[in-house]
């Protein structure tokens, strides 16, 4: 059974290309356009990994991450943050846990994919 990945970003075009890329790699990919919508989906079905943008309307990436980390059911889902802010935690206000990673846009998809494979293999 293929692993399920949720892509959360308010930039619809980013979501489209990422979902396309992930499906081409054989992953099952779903998408949400903000943190709130993502949370509803996560509560309904199980995801193996979540890719989320840091700056989003309604509920941003760090807020979503905090909620997920505080819930025993979701706290072990690996998170991959995307940011247009440049490097690492900049402006995120959320200290990123050891297992989580941050990619600056424009990221290298091969690198991103390598990291996703690694995180999923660890589980």
């Amino acid at each position: 059974m293929s692993k399920k990945i949720l892509v959360v970003d308010d930039e619809k075009d980013i979501v489209s290309v990422l979902v396309g890329r992930l499906k081409a790699q054989g992953y099952d990919a779903a998408s949400a356009s903000d943190g709130e919508q993502a949370l509803k989906m996560i509560q309904k079905e199980k995801f193996d990994l979540i890719i989320l943008d840091i700056l989003m309307p309604v509920m941003n990436g760090t807020e979503l991450a905090q909620i997920l980390k505080n819930d025993s059911k979701t706290k072990n889902i690996p998170l991959v943050f995307l940011t247009a802010l440049g490097t690492k935690q900049e402006g995120s206000g959320y200290s990123i846990a050891g297992s989580d990673v941050v990619f600056a846009k424009p990221f290298d998809f091969k690198e991103l994919l390598g990291k996703i494979d690694e995180l999923l293999a660890q589980k």
Binding site: E11, D13, V17, R21, A24, A84, G86, P106, F109
Partner: protein
Amino acid sequence: MGDAEIRILLLEDSPSDAKMVIRELNKRKSAMPVSIEHVGRLSLALERLKKNQFDVILTDLKLPDSDGLETVTRLLERAHKIPVVVMTGTYLDEGVALEAIRHGAQDYLFKDQMDGALLTRVIRHAVERNHLQQELVKLSQMKDEFISMVSHELRTPLTVIKEGVGLVQDGSAGALNPDQQTYLDLAKRSIDRLARLINDVLDFQKFESKQMEIRMTENNINELVNEIKESFALVAKNKGLELSVDLEERLPRIFFDRDKIVQVLTNFMSNAIKAMEKGKITLKTRCLENAVRVSVEDQGPGIKEEDIPKLFQPFSQLAMGNERKPGSTGLGLAISKQIIDRHKGKIGVESVWGKGTTFYFTIPQGLEIPKKKLGEILVEKGWISEEKIKEALKNQEGLANEK
């Protein structure tokens, strides 16, 4: 500035000197209307600065509760936007006065040569100069923000272009014929170049505005040089170039930011490879008197002497035989220089036209990790919260002011 009243905070413990300054200023009141608040201690001055607005601080350096440059430093700590003019006894104290300027004072006056006209002029100039300085700081911040905003805004669309092209290119959207493949490869190369440029601009900007963090750790430079050689082995081989290392075995302990030094060496190496058609590139480490020197020597065409000073300037692409180097952003060496500057080392180039070029940098020996303040360590270890420390510092300051 018109005829708006200039609000002066006069910090002088000698009543007679204070009286003289006030008298001289009042003589010129029609030329420069002023309001003067006079205090005799630094602690009182700091308190007034908290409560009231001033346009300029006029201060003696020797006070009952503060002496010399400490006075200037502590005033500016509290009120860095207000110009400080120091008053010293005689011209014999000029050395101290100049030192005060280096510490941020705007100007100085000698008490034995004080007269209303001079005093008025010095104050006017200090206020005006300070105003211009603040404007400059603001403009420079605006420039920083603008560059970083534009670069950030470019990132999202570029990601979409990159991944969209990537999807078509790797056949995810159906098989491609050779022509289609060629044109997509072309597009991909330009996309990568644009991405590099944006990252370089942001990197450069971060160094310029001192936002770039440098993490010093003790590292083995020889090991790193070998790694760099390995990582370029394939590219060099494909171009028919020879790579070799020449390492000094016994090197002193040095501290540097590994990732940043990799960035510098990568830049040197890609420059060398771009410049050469055939020949050998040598990576060298050497022990100097108080430093370690790392160099990349190539046998490329060399750089003309007149071009050398331009090399480390941002956006200066050298015309290598009238050709712009494809794929280069013109920022690589400028960023490298910023990195080495932050390591307190030297960066440079030696070149003989027609024979080859050597790019090198040095890292001073035993450049230790900057010592952290006790408070920072406590917070880092999670033994105390940042708020608690701030609170404690505030209390301490309060006590000092009450004395």
